[in-house]
């Protein structure tokens, strides 16, 4: 069944590296990614490390009239809290730090639990939350924001990109690769313990 046009259809077995599309609206229904669950798990661990580096180290250093200024991603939001506009701080911080951070941590939890058959609790609830959280993570938009701010600031001061920026840049690609290597159907089916008992069908 297609979740965008509701067309009911039988999905044939898909070879690794190939896709199955909806016969009516062309939505990609199912993807059989090459490689096992090890690949997204490895990518998510790398993403976690880079996420920490990107958030601890400053993204850039400015030199204005001999004074050096540095700031991390979270500083961007913290300045607004100090200025008395916490709502803008939230708008900046939630989609650039908290939502992606929760998504990465949650995906690691779910993938690790599936890969090593740990049967950790609440994996299904967490995966459901990640599904809803995913569109609200905007790290890639933030990266473009850094580049635009950079061009604006170059006119005012000497700008030096920091460790945090390079980590963030690599993180964007790793994170995108992680999402691309995941097939939600496969994940859900690995967690499919009780579904059959309750009279539900297999996915299609």
């Amino acid at each position: 069944m297609c979740h965008e046009c509701d067309a009911l259809q039988r999905v044939p077995a898909v070879e690794p590296g190939h896709d199955a599309e909806c016969v009516r609206c062309g939505l990609r229904l199912f993807r059989n990614p090459k490689g096992s669950i090890d690949k997204p798990l490895a990518l998510i661990i790398a993403s976690m490390i880079l996420f920490l580096i990107a958030n601890i180290y400053p993204i850039m250093t400015l030199t204005i009239a001999g004074v050096k200024l540095t700031g991390t991603i979270t500083d961007t939001a913290w300045v607004f809290v100090q200025q008395g506009s916490p709502e803008i701080a939230a708008i900046v911080w939630l989609p650039s730090v908290l939502f992606p951070g929760l998504t990465i941590a949650g995906l690691f939890y779910v993938l690790f639990s599936i890969r090593f058959q740990m049967n950790w609790p609440h994996t299904r609830t967490i995966l459901a939350w990640i599904t809803h959280l995913l569109p609200w993570g905007m790290m890639d938009v933030f990266l473009l924001g850094i580049l635009v701010a950079l061009v604006k600031l170059v006119a005012l001061a000497d700008v030096l990109l920091g460790t945090g920026f390079y980590a963030f840049l690599i993180l964007i690609f790793l994170y995108a690769a992680t999402i691309a290597s995941l097939e939600p159907h496969t994940l859900w089916e690995s967690l499919n313990v009780r579904a059959d008992e309750q009279g539900a069908f297999e996915n299609g």
Partner: protein, 216 residues
């Protein structure tokens, strides 16, 4: 269950059939096909989300979010995004004045990026969703495929409108630390964020299956 499966097979031989016609609904969260057994609303046995044939009150909720987004779009573009105070002189920048600044400095690609992300994208997304909603309400059976594609594009591109808010945030943070110049965020920041959030809610409320429910 067996009887249902044979009905599926019979129907599939001649035409494409919607899962709804056979009493099956897909979970919006995990995609599990759930046998609704004469209920309108059940709890997904796999992920615990609510399962409906179609998202409840889809059209009304989408319109409400969309109209609110359109109202916020006006201050987002007319109010200043940031105020710069430098040695006593003050200036306020709206989105368009930022675009013009880049244009006058010869950075036309940056001007284009900001114009596209901040001015064009939100407006196009609002128009796209309104168009889909109106055509569903009029019972249109035309160009279902194009409308579905439009919905997907709007879904992917929407978040890029946040670009300018992040830019303002970064500028404020870095320049704030130097004492001579201060930059303050303007009222347009909140309006802009609301446009993005409300259009995302509108698109989430709109159920694309309704496009395909219209039959000749």
């Amino acid at each position: 269950m067996l009887e249902l499966m044979s009905r599926v097979r019979l129907k599939m031989a001649n035409e494409i059939v919607s899962a709804k016609d056979l009493g099956i609904a897909g979970c919006h969260t995990c995609g599990l096909a759930v046998n609704m057994q004469n209920h309108d609303h059940v709890e997904c046995p796999r992920c615990g989300s609510g399962v409906h044939y179609r998202k409840p009150d889809s059209i009304n909720r989408a319109w409400a979010f969309l109209i609110a987004a359109f109202i916020m779009y006006i201050p987002a573009n007319t109010q200043p995004m940031m105020r710069t105070t430098s040695l006593g002189s003050e200036s306020a920048d709206t989105i368009m004045s930022g675009v013009i600044y880049f244009l006058s400095h010869g950075d036309w690609h940056l001007a284009l990026v900001i114009f596209a992300a901040s001015v064009m994208l939100p407006l196009l997304k609002i128009i796209a969703i309104a168009y889909i909603l109106i055509s569903i309400q009029r019972g249109s059976t035309q160009r279902k495929q194009e409308k579905t594609n439009l919905y997907r594009i709007a879904e992917i591109l929407g978040k890029w409108s946040m670009l300018d808010i992040f830019v303002v945030g970064l500028m404020v943070m870095l320049v704030q630390l130097g004492r001579l110049t201060t930059i303050d965020p303007g009222p347009a920041c909140i309006a802009f964020a609301l446009v993005v959030i409300l259009t995302m809610f509108a698109e989430e409320a709109l159920d694309p299956k309704l496009i395909w429910d219209q039959t000749e």
